[in-house]
C-alpha cells in the first residue's frame, strides 16, 4: 500500500505542507478564504528538534494500529489499509491522541480527533502535502517495510 513518507534530509521546515493540508481539508476552493485570519489545524505537522532538524509528522497507517484498538466509540477503523475516522462517532475522549506513538492524531479545533486520511475523502484525491512540498521531502509511495505501532 502507498503511504506518506518523509525524508527529513530534504525537509526545509517551510511548513507549507501544513497549510496545504488545512486547505485541502477545508472543503473550500480558495486558500485565502479557507485560511486567512484563522488558526489552522493541519493533520500533518512539522516538528523541529533541538538541533534544528525539521520533520513533518502525519499518520503512518500502521499495520496494527493502537489508535483503532483504543477508540472507545468505534470512530476509528481500518479500511483497505487506510485508518479512517468517522467524525460523527467521535466523542472527543482523545484517547487516540494520547496513545499514538507518533503524535499523528490531533484535535481538530472543535473537540473531536482528526488524522491524515491520505486526502482520500477530500477533493484533492492524493495527498496535498506531497504535491505541495517544494523539495520532494514528502513522498507518497509503496515501500516494503511497514510500521507497526507497537
Amino acid at each position: 500500500m502507498k503511504r506518506i513518507y518523509v525524508k527529513e534530509e530534504w525537509c526545509l521546515g517551510c511548513h507549507l505542507c501544513e497549510y496545504n493540508c488545512a486547505f485541502a481539508n477545508s472543503g473550500l476552493t480558495d486558500m485565502v478564504k479557507a485560511l486567512r485570519d484563522k488558526p489552522i489545524y493541519p493533520r500533518i505537522q512539522v516538528e523541529t528538534d533541538e538541533n534544528g532538524v525539521t520533520y513533518a509528522v502525519s499518520c503512518r497507517h500502521c499495520t496494527d494500529p493502537i489508535c483503532v484498538k483504543s477508540c472507545i466509540a468505534g470512530a476509528l477503523s481500518k479500511k483497505d489499509g487506510v485508518i479512517e475516522i468517522d467524525h460523527s462517532k467521535c466523542v472527543g475522549c482523545l484517547t487516540c491522541v494520547l496513545v499514538c506513538p507518533y503524535g499523528a492524531v490531533v484535535e481538530d479545533g472543535s473537540g473531536v480527533a482528526q488524522k491524515c486520511e491520505l486526502c482520500m475523502k477530500n477533493s484533492c484525491g492524493a495527498p496535498a502535502c506531497v504535491k505541495g512540498c517544494p523539495n520532494g521531502a514528502i513522498v507518497y509511495e509503496e515501500r516494503q517495510a511497514v510500521p507497526a505501532s507497537d
Binding site: 534530509e9 530534504w10 526545509l12 521546515g13 517551510c14 511548513h15 507549507l16 501544513e18 497549510y19 496545504n20 486547505f23 486558500m31 485565502v32 485560511l35 486567512r36 534544528g52 505541495g132 517544494p134 523539495n135 520532494g136 521531502a137
Partner: protein
C-alpha cells in the same frame, strides 16, 4: 550613503494567510512576522529579487517589483552607474558581480535564422525516421592505417562520446553546492554527456561519476592530485573564462568551508583567489608542456581540453592551441556566467562567442588543422536553437552552465558571490544547500536536455539533416538578419534573402 532600495516587496495583505513561508525561506531576512499587528513586514533593502518567496507563497500574495524611485534620468549616467560610484566612494573596493554580462550588447544568436527544406529536398520527420545526435570529441586521424591483414586499424586518439552535443560546463564545488554537483553528475551520467568539476577539485562522493566527469586544472591548482586527474574522462586546462578573461577564479572565504576546503586542499575560510596566469604557462610552448605533462600523468588515456576566454585575437590563440597537443578547445564567450567576478571585467572584457567561434572555426580550416581538435563553445547557450546555430557555425558541442543552473532553480538574481543563494545552488550554508534536492535537480536537468534534444532533432529534420555531423560547420543553413556586411563576413554567413 543610503539609497531607496532597488526592489520593492508588494504584499497583497488581503491574500496573505500569515503562513510565514516567505520569512522562513529568505536567507536575506527580508520578511518577518509582526506578532503585535499580526502582519508580515519587510525590509526591502535586503532583497536581491531572487523570487524564492514569490515562488513559494501559496496564495500569490507577493510580488517583487523594480522600484520606480530612481535618480534623475540621465542617458549617460544611469542610475546603476551613479550608485556604483557611491558604493565605491564609500568602500574603496572593486565591485563584485555574479553570473553573465547582463548589458544590452548584441546577441548574435538572435540575429541568425535557420533554414528548412521545401520542395527540392524533403524535410525529415524525427518522429518517424532515425535522427542522430551522437558526437565524438577529440583528434581525428590524418591518415588511416591498416593492420597486416588489411583491416582498418581502429585505434584513435582518446575521444569523448556524447549522446547529444551539449555538456555542463565548469562550476566548482565551492562556487556551487554539493547538491548542485550531485545533480549535475547524476544528470550527466543518465544522459550520456559530461559535467565539469571546475577548479574546486572533486568531492570523494562523486568519484563514482568519473566516466561522465571532466576534471579541471586551473591556475590555482586547487584540488589537483593524481587520483583526481585519473578519476575523470577528460582533463580541462582552464586558461580563462568568458566572464572574466585575464583573471583567475575567485571563491569568497565564506564559501570555503568544510568539505569545500578539504576538496580544494585549502584552509577553511580563506579566499581562494587563483592567479591570473598559470605560473608555469607564460606562452604557447609552455601550454604544450602542461598538456603533455597531464597526458603523461594519465598515460595518454584521456583527452585534454584547453579552455580559453573569447578575446580579440582568439583565432590566432586557438590556432596555437590546436598545435599544442590539446584534443579539444573550449571557447567561452563574454556572456559566460561566474560565481564571482569584478563587475568591470565581467561587463567590459572579451568578445561575443558567436564571432569568436566563427573566427576560430574558419582559421583552423584555413590552416588545415580543424581535424586536430574539436571545438566546444560556451558563454550563454540559452536554447536548442542556440545549440543548432553554434553547431552550424562550426562547433562540435556546446557547454551550458547558466541554463543548467536555471534548470536547478536559479532565478538569475546575480548574487552568487554573497553565498546566500536561496535556491541552494551557489551557497555552502547547510540550511540553504538542502533546498536543492538532487533527485529533483537531476531530473530537471535531464528533462531540459531531453527537451533540447527533441528540439535539435526537429530543427535538423526541417533542414533535411539526419545526423548532427552533417550540420557541423554547415553555414549554408544559416542566414543573418539586420547584420552589417562585416558581421556577416566574420560569421561566414549570407544575409537573409541572399
Amino acid at each position: 550613503m543610503n539609497f531607496y532600495p532597488e526592489f520593492e516587496v508588494e504584499r497583497n495583505d488581503s491574500r496573505c494567510i500569515r503562513c510565514r513561508v516567505c520569512e522562513r525561506q529568505c536567507a536575506n531576512e527580508v520578511h518577518w512576522f509582526d506578532a503585535d499587528g499580526k502582519v508580515m513586514l519587510s525590509d526591502e533593502s535586503k532583497c536581491v529579487n531572487c523570487q524564492r518567496c514569490v515562488t513559494l507563497c501559496p496564495t500569490r500574495a507577493l510580488k517583487i517589483v523594480k522600484s520606480d524611485c530612481r535618480l534623475r534620468e540621465n542617458a549617460n549616467y544611469s542610475d546603476q552607474t551613479i550608485k556604483e560610484i557611491y558604493r565605491q566612494a564609500e568602500t574603496g573596493g572593486v565591485l563584485l558581480s555574479s553570473m553573465g554580462n547582463p548589458n544590452p550588447l548584441p546577441v548574435y544568436w538572435d540575429k541568425i535564422l535557420i533554414n528548412a527544406s521545401q520542395v527540392t529536398n524533403p524535410p525529415i520527420d524525427p518522429l518517424r525516421e532515425p535522427m542522430e545526435t551522437r558526437v565524438f570529441l577529440g583528434k581525428k586521424p590524418k591518415h588511416i592505417r591498416r593492420n597486416a591483414d588489411g583491416t582498418l586499424d581502429t585505434k584513435l586518439a582518446p575521444q569523448l562520446t556524447l549522446s547529444m552535443p551539449v555538456m555542463f560546463s565548469a562550476m566548482s564545488y565551492g562556487s556551487i553546492s554539493y547538491n548542485a554537483h550531485a545533480s549535475l553528475a547524476r544528470a550527466a551520467t543518465a544522459l550520456g554527456i559530461y559535467y565539469n568539476t571546475g577548479e574546486g577539485g572533486l568531492h570523494e562522493d562523486f568519484y563514482q561519476y568519473g566516466k561522465n566527469t571532466i576534471v579541471q586544472v586551473a591556475s590555482g591548482r586547487f584540488g589537483v592530485h593524481k587520483d583526481y586527474l585519473e578519476a575523470g574522462a577528460a582533463i580541462e586546462i582552464k586558461m580563462g573564462q568568458g566572464a572574466k578573461p585575464g583573471i583567475g577564479g575567485h571563491l569568497p572565504g565564506t564559501k570555503a568551508v568544510g568539505d569545500v576546503s578539504k576538496t580544494r586542499m585549502i584552509p577553511e575560510g580563506s579566499d581562494a583567489i587563483s592567479p591570473a596566469p598559470h605560473h608555469d604557462i607564460y606562452s604557447i610552448e609552455d601550454l604544450r608542456q602542461l598538456v603533455y605533462s597531464l597526458k603523461e600523468a594519465t598515460e595518454y588515456r584521456l583527452p585534454v581540453i584547453v579552455k580559453v576566454a573569447a578575446v580579440h585575437n582568439i583565432a590566432a590563440i586557438a590556432s596555437g592551441i590546436a598545435r599544442s597537443g590539446a584534443d579539444i578547445i573550449a571557447i567561452d564567450g563574454f556572456r559566460g556566467g561566474t560565481g564571482a567576478a569584478p563587475t568591470r571585467i565581467r561587463d567590459n572584457v572579451g568578445i561575443p562567442i558567436e564571432l569568436a567561434l566563427a573566427a576560430v572555426d574558419k582559421r583552423l580550416r584555413d590552416e588545415g588543422i580543424r581535424n586536430n581538435v574539436s571545438i566546444v563553445c560556451g558563454g550563454s547557450i540559452r536554447s536548442a536553437a542556440d545549440v543548432v546555430k553554434a553547431i552550424a557555425l562550426g562547433a562540435d558541442a556546446c557547454y551550458i552552465a547558466t541554463a543548467a543552473c536555471l534548470a536547478m532553480g536559479c532565478h538569475l538574481c546575480r548574487s552568487c558571490h554573497t553565498g546566500k543563494c536561496n535556491w541552494g545552488i551557489a551557497t555552502q550554508r547547510p540550511d540553504l544547500v538542502k533546498r536543492l534536492n538532487p533527485d529533483i535537480g537531476s531530473e530537471r536537468l535531464i528533462n531540459l536536455m531531453n527537451a533540447w534534444r527533441h528540439e535539435i532533432k526537429e530543427l535538423m529534420g526541417g533542414m533535411g539533416i539526419n545526423s548532427i555531423e552533417a550540420l557541423r560547420g554547415n553555414r549554408l543553413m544559416l542566414r543573418g538578419v539586420g547584420l552589417t556586411g562585416k558581421e556577416l563576413e566574420i560569421l561566414g554567413i549570407s544575409h537573409a534573402g541572399e
